[in-house]
């Protein structure tokens, strides 16, 4: 089952079980979504529950926030996370703060499904990975699945909770195949997944970077370096316990992330681990992110911009020598 099919299956299942769940977004009903995630939903559940909108992100995200405050459980598709720029007030000030401002009296069971990820030549405004930015806002839960099973299970969890969730689907992962239990079991938030176990270094990676980390880990194994790869799955809440336990074993941490080079997810993980595990570290924790520029368009420039397995291997080897640069 592909990641797209897993998400689609989860949406069918949840909409079948709970009439309060509705889908809202651009091109999601008749067209089934530009990435086909909402395919077939309108046919099965009708246009009243699967709503095509004008290109008016502020209005439809805001509408979803209000609907979530008053009993519905909207799953909104924001076509690209870059478009959060259009409707950021509704995310930053409205969705993220309503529960706090009501001292918990108001529930906000809202899921904003959106995409992230470079690598397809979409340019600077359709390729960003803003999970770290969202995670820095108190009140938002941020999810980045990397496998079909996690995508379905985390989406179900996202719809179930009463807090606003930013659910980030990597465009490069939609076609990825994986084994998925037919029941699409729920994956609880704040539980990391060990994607590969190892003893020399801990590589924390999310979303599509898991694949880069696994490729690097495989190549490193051939050279006698045993890398553990951890997929936190949820950016916030972050399962720092699992990461710390791994670092306790390996003594080394590399965070591989497609997000911000400055003040992003990688920095947050390094800060936490440095604080918690300082005495156990055998090398300075490192991060590997794209450079601090917008995503370039031209093929080779974009390829250079994205971290790759060779970059990971190079840094890991440096860290294994115990040289802190």
């Amino acid at each position: 089952m592909t990641l797209t099919q897993a998400l689609n299956g989860a949406l069918h299942q949840v909409m079948e079980e709970d009439e309060q769940v509705i889908c809202i977004g651009e091109d999601i009903a008749a067209n089934g979504g530009v990435f086909q995630v909402t395919q077939g939903l309108e046919g099965q559940f009708g246009a009243a529950r699967v709503i095509d909108t004008p290109i008016s992100e502020t209005a439809f995200i805001g509408m979803a926030v209000g609907a979530a405050m008053t009993g519905l459980k909207p799953v909104v598709e924001l076509m690209f996370c870059d478009f959060a720029g259009v409707c950021f007030d509704q995310i930053l000030n409205q969705a993220a703060k309503a529960r706090f401002l009501s001292n918990g009296r108001v529930k906000l069971p809202l899921v904003i499904r959106t995409t992230m990820g470079a690598g397809d030549g979409s340019g600077a405004m359709h390729s960003q990975s803003l999970h770290g930015l969202f995670a820095s806002i108190p009140g938002l839960t941020v999810v980045c699945p990397s496998t079909p099973a996690d995508a379905a299970g985390l989406l179900k969890a996202a719809i179930q909770i009463d807090d606003p969730v930013i659910f980030m689907e990597n465009k490069q992962l939609y076609g990825v195949e994986g084994l998925v239990d037919e029941q699409l079991p729920l994956v609880p938030f704040g539980t990391a997944r060990s994607a590969r176990s190892g003893s020399d270094i801990t590589i924390v990676a999310v979303s599509a970077m898991i694949q880069t980390a696994l490729a690097a880990a495989q190549a490193l194994a051939d050279e006698g370096v045993s890398a553990e790869v951890i997929d936190p799955r949820t950016i916030k809440p972050l399962d720092i316990g699992t990461i710390n336990n791994s670092v306790k074993k390996t003594g080394r941490l590399l965070v591989l992330d497609e997000g911000a080079a400055y003040g992003g997810f990688a920095d947050a993980v390094i800060a936490a681990v440095s604080g918690d595990m300082f005495g156990r570290l055998k090398a300075a924790p490192r991060k590997l992110t794209p450079p601090d520029t917008p995503v370039p368009y031209a093929v080779m420039a974009e390829k250079f911009w994205l971290p790759n397995a060779q970059d990971v291997i190079k840094i890991v080897k440096t860290m294994m020598k115990g040289v802190a640069q």
Binding site: I55, G121, A261, K287, Y297, A301, F304
Partner: protein, 313 residues
């Protein structure tokens, strides 16, 4: 019939042939991402390019702006190189098909975010007003963008500040893949008038009437203040190339009717076919030159990279 009109016919064909050659490059895998072709708006693009003055006006456009940038006078080879991600593109390949910037030609920018180009044109109008050069900002956007908050806010702002800003709405009836009729309340001109904008509509399939409307709207903006012009166009391909297809490259209602009108006005068919041939040759030569240029190197990023400390690599 003056020669300018036949030249306009040739420019329309140049844009159409340019887009056809880009589509071929896309099919051959030579375009980094998806392209949103401007086939169907050629007549509107060329008329705007004609009536706008690159010396003092600034045009901004949507994600679908190859034709508009060309019509404003952006260098076709540099535009093509940018779309193909080649060395020597407008931005050396950093920006790409949705982000064409040719301010030297009066084409300030196109945009990856629906409607985001509209407030930028208000800024160009403000600059022109401050410089007292009788310049204008021209915001070109689609019927989909017309429902964005940024666009509606800019309509109010332009009137409140008496900006020399012309709103040009290309109505092709489709907002990405949603029909405008399913997504839009009321009538666009009425909406504009409710902001006290002078508002007109025109159909790009009637070259002469459309030309008069563009001329009038630009002149009004220059001398009287903000205005709105809705131009009916078609979208001859899908939202992006390869998605769905309407008229395709063979039939573009506006250009076809433009040609018929020229013939009816006494222009010999052989002049039209010569214009089409020249346009085709020029467009294909531009794309061929662009496609033979080297792919943009990762080096283009280097000047933009700031060290943030602690990064790997």
């Amino acid at each position: 019939m003056n020669t300018v009109v036949l030249e306009h016919y040739q420019r329309c064909w140049f844009i159409r042939c340019f887009e056809r050659a880009i589509a071929k490059q896309a099919s051959a895998g030579n375009v980094p991402g998806l392209v949103h072709l401007s086939t169907g708006s050629e007549v509107a693009d060329v008329l705007l390019g004609h009536w706008v003055d690159a010396e003092r006006d600034h045009v901004t456009g949507s994600h679908r702006s190859h034709g508009l940038a060309l019509a404003c006078g952006a260098n076709p080879i540099a535009v093509a190189k940018e779309i193909l991600g080649r060395e020597g593109g407008l931005s050396d390949g950093l920006a790409g098909t949705q982000h064409l910037l040719a301010p030297e030609a009066g084409f300030l920018t196109s945009n990856g975010i629906v409607g985001a180009q509209v407030p930028l044109a208000a800024g160009a109008a403000l600059s022109a007003k401050a410089a007292a050069i009788d310049g204008t900002g021209v915001a070109v956007f689609g019927d989909g963008a017309a429902n964005q908050g940024a666009v509606l806010e800019t309509m109010n702002l332009a009137v409140a500040l008496k900006l020399p800003l012309l709103f040009v709405l290309y109505n092709n009836g489709m907002a990405q893949t949603t029909a405008a009729t399913d997504a839009t309340a009321g009538n666009f001109c009425d909406r504009a008038r409710s902001f006290d904008l002078a508002a007109w509509s025109a159909d790009s399939a009637s070259y002469d009437a459309c030309s008069n409307a563009v001329q009038k709207a630009v002149a009004h903006t220059r001398t009287e203040g903000p205005a709105f012009l809705e131009i009916t166009v078609t979208r001859d391909h899908g939202h992006y190339y390869g998605e769905e297809r309407n008229g395709g490259f063979e039939h573009s209602q506006a250009i076809d009717e433009f040609g018929e009108w020229l013939v009816a006005s006494g222009v010999p068919e052989k002049s039209l076919s010569a214009a089409r041939q020249t346009a085709k040759n020029d467009a294909e030569a531009a794309i061929a030159e662009a496609a033979s240029a080297p792919l943009a190197s990762p080096e283009i990023l280097k000047p933009w990279i700031q060290s943030t400390g602690g990064a790997g690599g």
